[in-house]
Amino acid sequence: MPDNKILKRIMYVDDDTDLQRIVQLGLEMGGGFTVKVCGSGEQVLREIADFQPDLLILDVVMPDMSGPKTLKTMQNMPDIPSVPVVFFTSKTGPEHLQHYRSLGAIGVIKKPLDFKRLPHQVKEIWEIFNSKVHQ
């Protein structure tokens, strides 16, 4: 778990190439973060150890390996570093939120995306997470 860590490196996972570009724009230019974009859960498993992100943003609906499945797989692989996860989804009803939290996610970003607000949303989730860790 981070030690009042500053959020710098974000791995963002989405199979939608249009969203990839706009999220990257928002996070890099708007937030100043270093961003690595992945197109699938499988790519995350291959590249997360090298990139060492502070935070992982996972799209929920992806072919082959969904966001939740990617998270579960990561949790069962001891050689993969434990990284806080935020889900990116259009389903944000109370039951969905509860489900995502039960899987271990620290927050949810709602689709459709407002890319200008995105860096603030991410920072807010990160700060709340950090404050809970240090309570």
Partner: protein, 264 residues
């Protein structure tokens, strides 16, 4: 002549973002992603300013600073160090002793970066008449403007690819109606429509994506209730696809595609 900045940063995306950002302010920017090539570029290009990361492949950023500041030909070039790891006071002191002019912490705050660059370089050179007649600050764009411009480029590119996406949807829909590998095609169709709903709204094409949203709901019902219900929902799906196809944005792009095709 615009002032030249050399960025040495191994995260290519970040280097590219810095380049895009500083070029909006009329600086000339080149990016190098490893230390050795970076140092060679310093010698070859003699930039007006060096912006370097520390943890670089092949040669550490501090070695670049030490070499530049120890070389009579190069030491006048101002250096800004981007630091995520080495940000404690001892490292800053060490870098100051080497002659490094300034630091900036990661994640980068682009407005802060611009301030630091301008403090060392001044605004990028303007033509003489502009210097006399206008305030340089009026020329500056805010970070929001820079992002907005990038967004508009992405939006335009997205719009230009919409007709292709819709034609592809029509093709998949045809094969679903012919019951060719229906389950797989339905899943593909639904995935594409879902993507269109999300990305279309994000890019600001709300009317178009409203049709996609309704289509997505219909497809969810078909997937839940079985392929036998395709027939009864066929007309609605055709109407929604038609709405999407005849959206002014799509028809304009289709017209452009047709004209380009006939000119070839």
């Amino acid at each position: 002549m615009a002032k030249k900045i050399l960025v040495i940063e191994d995260e290519d995306n970040l280097g590219q973002s810095i380049k895009t950002f500083l070029e909006q302010y009329d600086y000339r920017v080149s990016c190098i992603s490893d230390g050795i090539t970076g140092l060679e570029a310093v010698r070859d290009e003699k930039p007006d300013l060096i912006l370097t990361d520390l943890l670089l492949p092949r040669l550490h950023g501090f070695d670049i600073c030490r070499t530049v500041k120890g070389d009579d030909q190069l030491r006048e070039i101002p250096l800004i160090v981007m630091t995520a790891v080495y940000k404690n006071a001892i490292h800053k002191l060490e870098a100051k002793r080497m002659g490094v002019e300034d630091f900036i912490e990661k994640p980068l705050n682009f407005s802060e970066l611009l301030k630091k660059v301008e403090r060392l370089l001044g605004p990028a050179t303007l033509p003489e008449e502009e210097i006399i007649t206008s305030e340089p600050t009026q020329k500056k764009k805010s970070m929001d403007d820079v992002i907005q411009k990038q967004f508009q480029d992405l939006q335009q590119d997205y719009a230009s690819r919409l007709p292709q996406k819709i034609m592809e949807l029509e093709k998949i829909w045809e094969s679903i109606q012919k019951r060719e590998d229906t389950a797989k095609q339905l899943a593909k169709f639904r995935r594409m429509v879902h993507s269109l709903t999300g990305s279309g709204t994000t890019f600001g094409f709300k009317e178009l994506t409203e049709s996609a949203r309704q289509l997505e709901l219909l497809l969810d019902m078909i997937i839940a209730e079985g392929e036998d219900t395709i027939e009864e929902r066929k007309d609605k799906i055709n109407r929604l696809l038609d709405n999407m196809k005849h959206h002014p944005l799509v028809t304009t792009e289709l017209e452009i595609m047709r004209q380009m095709g006939s000119n070839q």
